[in-house]
């Protein structure tokens, strides 16, 4: 299924200068594990109060990038500054001002909710008394106040995630790093988590997150970089990305013949109706700025699709265009 008319290139070949007030900036940031290049010379910067997302398929280099920002994984090459400091020399000082929500919860499941937070607060040298009042606040914020004395073992997946977020906030961080914050959660738990993250955003907290959920990126992020195969392939706000890499609308057509196959129609007859045509096993997608006009054109050519759906372009269309439909492992 030939889809891409051209291989998308990095959005801007010349890296933009570091914006003043950037909390995180990377130039040519590279990470190599032996022979494998996990992050291949990427440039980005994150400003104060911004919600910045790394979007990409598994193995694209998102987590590795987050770990370098979090000063737990040494940079192989390139420049990285976090809060104006160099992770290579100022790791502990930077980490003192970061809040990290790792992909795995890394909680001590045998200790109580409160003990997990007290212990973590102590790593930041927060006095116990201060930690206690802060913990009450944070547990109220993540709606776990009633569970304070329970062992973490007894919590559901969504509760553990919220606890991990509360833990990441214990030192009142300047930047919060969230690596796939909602992966594996049920819809209720995800929405509750988004709601909390949205509140942090409203309070002006700088959030950096990775995700492969488009709705998550669309809802939360001011700015997104799409990563694929260790590189950044696109950057912008969700709206900008859609404008740049997709059309305003998408028409989904289903043609069903006796065999039920999608190739019941000669696709060449559709080619000039839309800016881009994508043939999938069960349907044909027309990328067009005016979906209704495209549908009218299809009918005018005497084609009779079994079903027609006109919808707005989403980030998912952008994502699939940029990173391909085939499974990346």
């Amino acid at each position: 299924m030939p889809v891409l008319d051209q291989q998308p290139a990095a959005d801007s070949p010349v890296p933009a200068p570091i914006p003043p007030g950037a909390l995180i900036s990377a130039r040519g940031l590279t990470k190599r594990f032996g022979e494998r290049l996990a992050v291949d010379g990427i440039d980005f910067s994150v400003g104060r109060g911004e919600v910045f997302g790394f979007l990409g398929p598994n193995g694209a280099g998102k987590t590795t990038t987050m770990r370098m920002i979090g000063c737990v994984s040494p940079v192989t090459a390139g420049q990285l500054r976090v809060l104006g400091m160099d992770p290579a020399t100022d790791g502990p000082r930077i980490r003192a001002r970061l809040g990290v929500v790792p992909q795995a919860d890394t909680l001590d499941t045998e200790l109580s909710v409160r003990d997990n937070l007290v212990i973590y607060a102590r790593y930041f040298d927060i006095p116990r008394r201060e930690a206690r009042s802060r913990i009450d606040e944070l547990l109220a914020f993540v709606q776990l106040s009633e569970r304070v004395d329970e062992p973490v073992d007894a919590l559901s997946g969504g509760m553990k995630r919220r606890l991990t977020i509360a833990r990441g906030l214990i030192n009142d961080p300047d930047i919060i790093l969230l690596d796939e914050p909602t992966t594996g959660l049920d819809p209720q738990a995800r929405h509750l988590l988004w709601d909390r993250l949205y509140r942090l955003k409203q309070q002006g907290t700088t959030l950096v997150l990775t995700t492969h959920y488009m709705d998550e990126a669309e809802q939360l992020c001011d700015r997104i970089v799409v990563m694929d195969k260790a590189r950044i392939v696109a950057e912008g706000s969700p709206q900008q990305l859609i404008e740049r890499w997709s059309t305003r609308e998408v028409v989904e057509l289903r043609f069903v013949d006796a065999s039920g196959a999608g190739d019941a129609v000669d696709v060449s007859r559709l080619a000039d109706i839309a800016e881009r045509v994508e043939v999938l096993p069960d349907r044909v997608l027309l990328y067009a700025s005016d979906g209704e006009a495209a549908v009218a054109a299809v009918h005018a050519r005497g084609l009779q699709p079994a079903s027609v759906l006109v919808r707005r372009s989403t980030l998912e269309d952008v994502f699939l265009r940029l990173t391909g439909r085939s499974l990346v492992e």
Binding site: P92, T106, Y120, Y123
Partner: protein, 258 residues
């Protein structure tokens, strides 16, 4: 390089984690020496030496007590630096969480050693009290066997910790127990003098920190410690610990900082 405060924060975690099991740990720390000294020291000891009950000129119980004191520290060292460390390193990823804070790998290691030192000290003190109740180690000099037991514990804890940091599952721990800890427990000099062993095994025994720890602990208990031999014993224990710390620092960094 080693900051005291971050290390203490890690030890605080260990203490919090220990709070759930301190009662059973205390129970075992007291009951186990009572059982061993009662069964082996008095029961078996009554048969030793054709019924005279003496080894190397002293009662079997007085011979056995310092050996068991030191050997217990070794066994605790092995238990505390295998599964619990694997849990923090791999299963629960507690260390990963710690490293997201200002703590560094060196702080993690230092903190664990602070905690283990305290743990060995309390354990050995309890053992010593039980031994004294049984009539062994009733001199002031015998108290010095406690730091010797602690040092022996560290001489095992540090290399085993280094080993654990290279493991991806717990399969190696069985082998460690079966081929190193258990043979040392039985043959390292606690139950009978190593001179009873074939020469090859004697050589192997003296290459391990246990036999030196046991010999020094026993000398202190029986008041037979000489300066040159004691220095050699201490040197071996320190050497194992220092090399163990360096190795653990290396393997933990390799494992955690990637």
């Amino acid at each position: 390089m080693i900051a005291v405060r971050p290390a203490l924060r890690v030890a605080e975690y260990d203490a919090a984690s220990f709070r759930k099991s301190w009662k059973s740990a205390l129970f075992i720390s007291v009951v186990s020496p009572v059982l061993f000294l009662g069964a082996m020291g008095l029961g078996l000891g009554g048969l030793v030496g054709s019924g005279r009950g003496t080894v190397a000129g002293v009662s079997y119980l007085r011979f056995l007590a310092p050996g068991l004191l030191v050997t217990t520290a070794m066994q605790t060292a092995s238990a505390e630096t295998t599964y619990p460390i694997m849990n923090r390193l791999h299963w629960s990823k507690i260390y990963e969480a710690m490293l997201n804070t200002p703590l560094r790998v060196a702080d993690l290691l230092a903190g664990e050693l602070v905690w283990l030192t305290a743990r060995f000290a309390v354990l050995s003190l309890l053992f010593h009290v039980v031994a004294v109740c049984f009539g062994a180690g009733r001199s002031a000099m015998a108290l010095l066997a406690i730091p010797v037991a602690v040092a022996t514990g560290l001489a095992f804890a540090t290399p085993i910790l280094a080993y654990t940091a290279t493991q991806r599952n717990d399969q190696g721990f069985n082998a460690l127990n079966r081929f190193i800890i258990l043979p040392l427990f039985l043959l390292g000099g606690s139950f009978f003098p190593v001179t009873q062993l074939p020469l090859v095994l004697q050589g192997i025994a003296w290459a391990t920190p246990l036999t030196h720890g046991v010999a020094l602990g026993r000398d202190l208990y029986l008041g037979t410690a000489g300066v040159p031999s004691s220095l050699v014993h201490v040197l071996v224990l320190v050497l194992y610990t220092v090399v163990g710390v360096l190795l653990a620092r290396w393997t933990m960094t390799r494992r955690l900082v990637v």
